[in-house]
């Protein structure tokens, strides 16, 4: 509860902006999964977030994206044989 990070004071303007931005990313991710399917949407979300929001280097972002893809596709679809449904745009 009394985490050091929670006590960090932010200007309320900054807080509101970052909160809204955060939920925009989150809801965008959910919409992306619905429209594009999870195998495409989550790696794209990670790539964009790392580049735009985190200002990470291209290489770091691409490595993160690849890991995400491997996790979703490799672990679930390939090894656990969990078929993820395709997105709305690609027909059910």
């Amino acid at each position: 509860m009394n985490h050091l990070f929670y006590t960090a004071q932010l200007e309320s303007k900054v807080e509101v902006r970052r909160t809204l931005l955060f939920f925009a990313w989150f809801i965008g991710g959910a919409l992306g999964i619905w429209l594009l399917g999870i195998v495409i949407a989550l790696p794209v979300l990670v790539l964009l977030y790392a580049l735009i929001e985190g200002k990470e280097r291209w290489t770091t972002s691409l490595v993160m994206t690849a890991c995400t893809f491997l996790l979703i596709w490799g672990l679930f679809e390939y090894m656990l044989e969990t078929r993820w449904p395709a997105g709305l745009l690609f027909g059910y």
Partner: protein, 499 residues
């Protein structure tokens, strides 16, 4: 099918002697270590929420090994951030910062870590032994518990947790009631009546609990990271000194370890005290009873040993009520109960009667993963510090992935995504306005169980179950403790409650 205690204990051990159970435990150990050491953000409730949809498809014992392996190791390694970075660890490891960080700064980081791992491991074993002994001791008593008594016990526990979970008891009660309300959505199990379904097939089975847990704990912690944009930026305290010194310290203070472990077990068993205070209770006890308490707060190793042993012993105590009464004390054990229910066990007397070997498997896993966790701490002490440097721009997407993927994997239905977004926003609002989320999760998990017990009571006895002597005694105890706690909490000024 009842078996003797010894048979059950042996069968419980053979249940877990499989390679895949061991592998699952090691994966759990890895996850638990990362959770303990990576800066903020994660946390055991979220990890359980992420793992839940996966493990319920596994064989029970394998799944248990993963879950318990993760939580018990994460408790043992919880002192990492406090000692090296001066950041209070997860709940239950906050007092450690008072003496751990000064030790780290003056070049005794390894000694403090060694003491914390050793004290944690010993605490974990004390908790496990208590759990193992509590089963035969409580067995006759548990067999006397019928549905009416269980209903009252769970109601009692839930009300205590609600009052004590947050800063304001009223908000805790509201959160718990909200959880109970959400639990009613769907087709009622025994009667088949539809409640709050609105002709939506999705709502027939109720709102999936694992999605709610993911959203409620994942989104607010990811938001914290995105808001403050802080990773661990300060340099860690130098990793100097010797782990062995810490081990020696702990062994010399064995009596303190034992006392604090029992404080932990006690906190775990009594409903509602909660994990947030266990470390402070143990720390206070150590400072009060030590002859020479001058150095407390300035880097006394006893200030590390006390909270860490209590924190890890607590898990064993927590499992006592979880397994024997079907009543969880916190979010982690509540989600463990959800997993047990999904595997087809009804935690409480029924499980003790029918699946005693599984109960003992849990005991074995708890003990073994405690030992493994301690070893992991010792072996990897130097490498773990690197994990703490994970940045927010890496952590936030990781949490996004797991929350969205975890939610979507439940039914693979787009409505899953809607639910996770809605409850993510609810979780944010609850955090923002001080409604304790653990109280809501407990209400949600226990709602179904309470209803089952109430239904059975009414079906067997009508209203006359209320006149059973045991029910009257339990109800009066519940009412008295509830009212006393409520009064005490309302009297105290809100300021004093900020621990």
């Amino acid at each position: 099918m009842e078996m003797s205690l010894l048979d059950a204990a042996i069968k419980g051990l053979t249940n877990i002697l499989h390679l895949k159970v061991f592998l699952a435990m090691m994966v759990g150990v890895g996850i638990g270590t990362f959770t303990a050491v990576a800066p903020q953000g994660l946390g055991m409730p979220l990890v359980y929420a992420i793992l839940l949809p996966v493990v319920v498809r596994w064989e029970p014992v394998t799944g248990m090994a993963l879950l318990i392996g993760a939580s018990s190791v994460s408790a043992i390694c919880a002192a990492y951030l406090p000692i090296l970075f001066g950041i209070p660890g997860g709940s239950g490891s906050q007092a450690t910062v008072l003496d751990g960080y000064p030790m780290g700064k003056r070049g005794e980081g390894r000694r403090a870590l060694g003491a914390s791992f050793m004290a944690g491991g010993m605490g974990c074993l004390v908790g496990t032994f208590t759990l193992a002994l509590a089963i035969p001791a409580a067995q006759p008593l548990i067999y006397l518990m019928g549905a009416p008594e269980l209903f009252v016990v769970v109601l009692w526990g839930l009300s205590m947790v609600a009052v004590l979970a947050g800063r304001r008891p009223i908000k805790g009660l509201i959160a718990a009631a909200f959880g109970l309300l959400i639990a009613t959505v769907g087709q009622q199990g025994q009667s088949g009546i539809m409640r709050f379904v609105f002709d939506q097939p999705y709502l027939l089975d109720g709102i999936p609990l694992s999605i709610i847990a993911l959203a409620l704990f994942g989104i607010p912690s990811a938001l914290d990271l995105a808001l403050t944009k802080i990773g661990v930026e300060q340099q860690p305290a130098p990793l100097k000194g010797s782990l062995l010194d810490g081990v020696k310290d702990t062994l010399r203070e064995w009596w303190l370890v034992l006392r604090c472990s029992f404080i932990g077990v006690w906190v775990g068993i009594v409903p509602g005290i909660g994990s947030q205070v266990v470390d402070w209770l143990a720390y206070g006890h150590a400072a009060q009873t030590s002859k020479d308490a001058r150095n407390f707060g300035k880097g006394d190793v006893r200030g590390v040993i006390a909270p860490e042993s209590a924190n890890d012993a607590k898990d064993g105590g927590d499992l006592v009520t979880t397994l024997l009464l079907g009543f969880p004390q916190g979010v982690v054990t509540a989600l463990f109960i959800v997993a047990l229910l999904a595997w087809g066990y009804l935690p409480g007397p029924e499980m003790v009667k029918k699946n005693l070997d599984i109960v003992y498997s849990v005991v074995w896993i708890q003990g073994i993963s405690g030992v493994i966790g301690t070893l992991v701490g010792f072996v990897l002490a130097a490498q773990l510090a690197k994990l703490a440097e994970v940045r927010y721009s890496v952590m936030v997407p990781i949490i996004f992935i797991f929350v969205l993927m975890g939610a979507f994997s439940v039914n693979r239905d787009p409505i899953d995504l809607l639910v996770v977004v809605v409850f993510g926003i609810i979780g944010y609002l609850m955090r923002r306005f001080g409604y304790p989320r653990p109280a809501m999760i407990l209400g949600l998990v226990l709602g179904g169980l309470m209803e089952t017990y109430l239904y059975r009571s009414m079906a067997s006895y009508g209203f006359s179950w209320l006149a059973r002597p045991s029910v009257i005694v339990l109800l009066s105890l519940a009412a008295v403790s509830f009212l006393l706690t409520m009064r005490a909490r309302l009297k105290r000024s809100p300021k004093a409650q900020v621990a």
